[in-house]
């Protein structure tokens, strides 16, 4: 698949994420953040099982037979912790905008380091100044949108 398709997929994932967060926070308001995350993971597990038994065969399997390191399965653990840390941060003096902004900074800093040093078993990529320009533009644009919310 060409790289431009990957870029569109990445943007589409962001759109899905925005809708997902909106649904989950509505459920969290009716119940609790941890319960909402639990329910989302329950539904997500069911849907992914259904998917694996139906449509997954249409998608090509990866060519590598490299075994998965055990720690990588703990990704779901970190994902579940996201909800808990996010709730704690939102309820602190940081508020919603501050939490989103700082979590964005944490996310990007860690990502840059992970790429540069090839952490977590993913391909190592040396960053160029163009990566930093692109990062700076997107992060500053995001911060403007976060802090000037209608």
């Amino acid at each position: 698949m060409p790289r431009s398709a990957d870029v569109l997929l990445g943007l589409a994932a962001g759109i899905l994420l925005a809708a997902m967060i909106s649904f989950n926070s509505q459920l969290a308001q009716a119940s609790t953040p941890v319960f909402a995350s639990w329910a989302a993971h329950a539904v997500g597990t069911l849907v992914s099982i259904l998917f694996l038994f139906s449509l997954a065969q249409w998608f090509p399997a990866p060519k590598t037979t490299k075994p998965v390191p055990l720690w990588a399965y703990a990704g779901g653990l970190a994902g579940a912790m996201v909800v808990i840390t996010a709730t704690m941060a939102v309820n602190s003096p940081l508020g919603l905008a501050g939490t989103i902004a700082l979590s964005l900074v944490g996310q990007i800093s860690f990502s840059l380091l992970a790429d540069q040093f090839g952490w977590l078993g993913l391909p190592q990529r040396s960053l160029t100044h163009h990566d930093f320009i692109s990062t700076l533009l997107i992060v500053s644009g995001s911060l403007m949108i976060i802090f000037f919310r209608a």
Binding site: G10, V34, S37, T45, I49, P62, G76, L77, R149
Partner: protein, 137 residues
């Protein structure tokens, strides 16, 4: 705490990408959800946090969030090994921010609108820049 939250977001996506590289994106999504589900079940049992009555008050469609989550993790796991952690994170954030501008309730303030549009412009420029000067693979 907010910074740790961001770090965990990258960590979970990179770990899922790692699973996806070997097992495929949808298996990565499956493992992500079932491990998270097991952990949160334990947490709710220990804290007696199952609030069924309150949860029943929410409209049914809020549970669609989990469906979107399956596809989000799958797409993310597919893209991460191909584009790198940073670029994937930036694209996801861009998509998220652009949608948030579209769906936010415009309050009639000129300053808010113009600042949001400047933000959109910066993001689009950043995505364009990343594509124009991308590294050969």
């Amino acid at each position: 705490m907010a910074l740790i939250c961001g770090l965990l977001i990258s960590l979970t996506r990179a770990a899922n990408g790692q699973v996806g590289m070997s097992l495929g994106a949808f298996k990565a999504s499956y493992w992500n959800h079932i491990v998270g589900f097991a952990f949160l079940t334990l947490l709710l049992v220990l804290s007696s946090g199952f609030v069924w009555e309150q949860a029943a008050q929410a409209p049914w469609y809020v549970y669609l969030g989990g469906v979107l989550g399956t596809f989000f993790v799958a797409i993310n796991s597919y893209v991460i090994p191909r584009l790198g952690v940073t670029k994937t994170a930036l694209l996801v954030i861009s998509g998220q921010m652009l949608v948030s501008v579209l769906i936010s309730n415009y309050n009639g303030s000129f300053v808010t609108l113009s600042m949001q549009l400047v933000g959109v412009g910066l993001i689009l420029l950043g995505v364009y820049w990343g594509q124009k000067y991308r590294q050969p693979t």
